[in-house]
């Protein structure tokens, strides 16, 4: 087939036609690619538009953001879900970021080439692919019943922290890997030891990359429902957890950690699972709020990365 084509070109007989045919396949391939892209973006747009159109009556009603869930769909609101999400994310960030950054530093800067490092490496990539519902079973069997933590904000925060651990570890490793050797050698040349080099020079330089990974991870955690459902968060929560700060000493209060809770994806799931269409309006409105939050966070991460790249290039 190829040999044939070459002969024809060499003889110059059907050269034009061959070029035209190649050009046609090129245009076809490019259009298929663009078509897939357009379908994907149209889908993203139609998800958002469908949610906004369906949820509009609730979205423009301020009560929706300040009311508790209710049996009457026109009075139901998401205040307890929003507060729950904020508090769970607080636990998740506080637990996952130090752990993941430390693990990432270890794997990039310290890990010797041996079986243990290999195991940790394979393990992190496998964890990234473990379905989120399995983390939910881990939380149910170990945190809720094994450690007796119950169906609380603390349990939910911990399980989501474990879930996004691989995301932040991978981001940390990539950020550290992209830092030039010169920086480390300059630090060593000034007499810094390994830990000083890592903590004073490498880590600050890797900060934007780590921040990006953290934001992407937290955006994922905000939208995750499965691991939180298994620990039993699907309840009717008509109260707020005790506030983390108070006006009397010692000013901080950790009672909220052991409070029952609900989060936004759970609230959405609860409403969409009901047969009445009125509740689907609430579900759509919750979906808009959820999507705006995750899109904003992912957008911020993309923006930071873009700025970083521009900075590195100049």
């Amino acid at each position: 087939m190829e040999a044939d084509a070459t002969r024809v070109v060499a003889s110059g007989v059907r050269f034009q036609r061959l070029v035209a045919a190649n050009r046609r396949t090129d245009i076809m391939m490019a259009s298929i690619g663009i078509l897939v892209l357009m379908v994907a973006s149209a889908l993203l747009a139609s998800v958002l538009v469908d949610l906004i159109l369906t949820g509009w009556p609730r979205l423009i009603n301020p009560d929706f953001y300040t009311n508790f869930p209710s049996r009457k769909p026109e009075q139901a609101g998401i205040i307890s879900a929003m507060v729950g999400t904020a508090l769970v994310m607080l636990v998740t960030a506080v637990v996952s970021v130090p752990l993941a950054v430390a693990a990432g530093i270890y794997l990039e800067e310290y890990a010797p080439k041996n079986w243990l490092s290999d195991i940790i490496d394979i393990n992190v990539s496998n964890l990234a692919g473990v379905p989120s519902i399995i983390y939910g079973l881990l939380a149910l069997g170990l945190f809720v019943y094994g450690f007796g933590l119950g169906e609380t904000i603390l349990t939910a925060g911990l399980v989501l922290a474990l879930l996004i651990l691989p995301v932040i570890i991978v981001a940390t490793r990539e950020a550290i890997r992209s830092i030039p050797r010169d920086l480390r050698e300059a630090a060593y040349g000034l007499g810094a030891d390994k830990w000083q080099t890592v903590s004073h020079y490498v880590l600050p330089a890797a900060r934007p990359g780590i921040l990006t990974g953290t934001i992407v991870g937290l955006a994922r955690a905000i939208g995750e429902a499965a691991p939180v459902i298994t620990i039993g968060a699907l309840t009717f929560i008509a109260f707020l957890p005790p506030p983390p700060v108070q006006s009397t000493p010692p000013f901080v209060n950790f009672d909220w950690l052991t409070s029952p809770f609900t989060v936004m994806p759970i609230q959405l799931f609860n409403w969409v699972s009901r047969p009445q269409a009125e509740f689907h309006i609430n579900a759509a409105a919750t979906g808009v709020v959820l999507m705006v939050m995750t899109l904003a966070m992912n957008g911020l991460a993309i923006y930071i990365r873009y700025q970083l790249r521009k900075h590195q290039r100049s």
Partner: protein, 312 residues
């Protein structure tokens, strides 16, 4: 450590022995602390395996493994409970199959376009779009599958049930598309330019370079992308829990509704399951099956990707 002790004897005039010892201590302390953090990730895996094994072992004392794997009924809440996990597996594979039928051709086309045809400026602006698509919460996709895609499909397919496997499968295909496309695009871009140029020197067209040179060279990476995508589709929960129904049903017919493994876990977790009951343990047995399936896919994908990275 030997470097520091030799440095200590030389530098003893400039820096005090105490100062050097303190620095050596902090270095060692930091190294151990970082190792401990890295080991936490291993502990998570150990914890998962431990929970799944210890909670499902009592289950297999009461239900024989043969029944578990061959029975085609899954009725844990009935008087005469039967536990044939293939009921759930059939639905899981059907939905994942539909998702892959969307994601493989579309993902491959998009990856070829991005790596071989698109100008760098286009590629730079498309990648963020894919990331945004990846960031959409799965409950939202579930809502979309149940209340938008299903009614839409019902206008074409009259016999389509309100809960069916087709709509969540299609939506899930779009959901894993950004992931499979970007992993296979990475694999294609890693193919050395020299191979492409060799193809052009032989008079290949761009299409031929893509299909005869780049794809074969990147095949292990592309395969890894689809195996990892399959693993995601199998483990995806909220889309199927919302839109595929919660009725265990041994079928491969996409127009019917059927509970997947993940949907079953969600359904049981929503009710108040008494800790230690057979139904409670069945959740972990189903989870164990899910974990083994995804683990197999993930390991194959991991080694394929690693082999690919070593090749270039």
């Amino acid at each position: 450590m030997s470097e520091i002790s030799s440095a200590e004897s030389e530098l003893i005039g400039g820096a005090t022995r105490q100062f050097l010892r303190r620095r050596a201590f902090w270095n060692r302390f930091a190294a151990y602390w970082l190792l401990a953090a890295a080991l936490v990730s291993v502990l998570v895996t150990v914890g998962i395996v431990y929970v799944l094994v210890t909670e499902s072992l009592p289950f297999f004392n009461q239900v024989s493994l043969v029944d578990f794997l061959t029975d085609t009924q899954w009725t844990p809440m009935f008087e005469n409970a039967r536990y044939g996990v293939m009921t759930l597996v059939s639905a899981t594979l059907t939905v994942a199959g539909i998702a892959l039928a969307v994601a493989i051709p579309a993902g491959l086309a998009l990856a070829i376009y991005l790596s071989e045809y698109a100008r760098p400026a286009v590629r730079e602006s498309v990648k963020p779009l894919l990331e945004l698509l990846e960031g959409v919460p799965t409950v939202v996709y579930g809502f979309f599958a149940l209340l938008f895609v299903t009614p839409l499909l019902q206008t074409f397919i009259p016999g389509l049930a309100g809960f069916n496997m087709l709509a969540p499968g299609l939506v899930m295909g779009i959901m894993i598309l950004p992931y499979t496309a970007s992993v296979s695009e990475d694999a294609m871009r890693a193919v050395p330019m020299g191979l492409r140029e060799a193809g052009y020197a032989l008079g290949y067209s761009r299409f031929r370079v893509a299909t005869r040179v780049v794809i074969p060279a990147a095949l292990s990476g592309i395969t890894a992308a689809f195996i990892l995508g399959m693993s995601r589709a199998v483990g995806e929960t909220m889309v199927v829990a919302i839109a595929a129904g919660q009725n265990p049903n041994f079928t491969f017919n996409p127009t019917e509704g059927a509970a997947t493994i993940t949907a079953y876990i969600v359904q049981m977790a929503m009710g108040d399951l008494p800790h230690g009951s057979l139904a409670y343990q069945s959740v972990f047995a189903a989870g164990f099956v899910l974990f083994l399936i995804t683990l197999t896919f993930n390991l194959i994908g991991f080694f394929l990707r690693r082999r690919f990275r070593e090749a270039y």
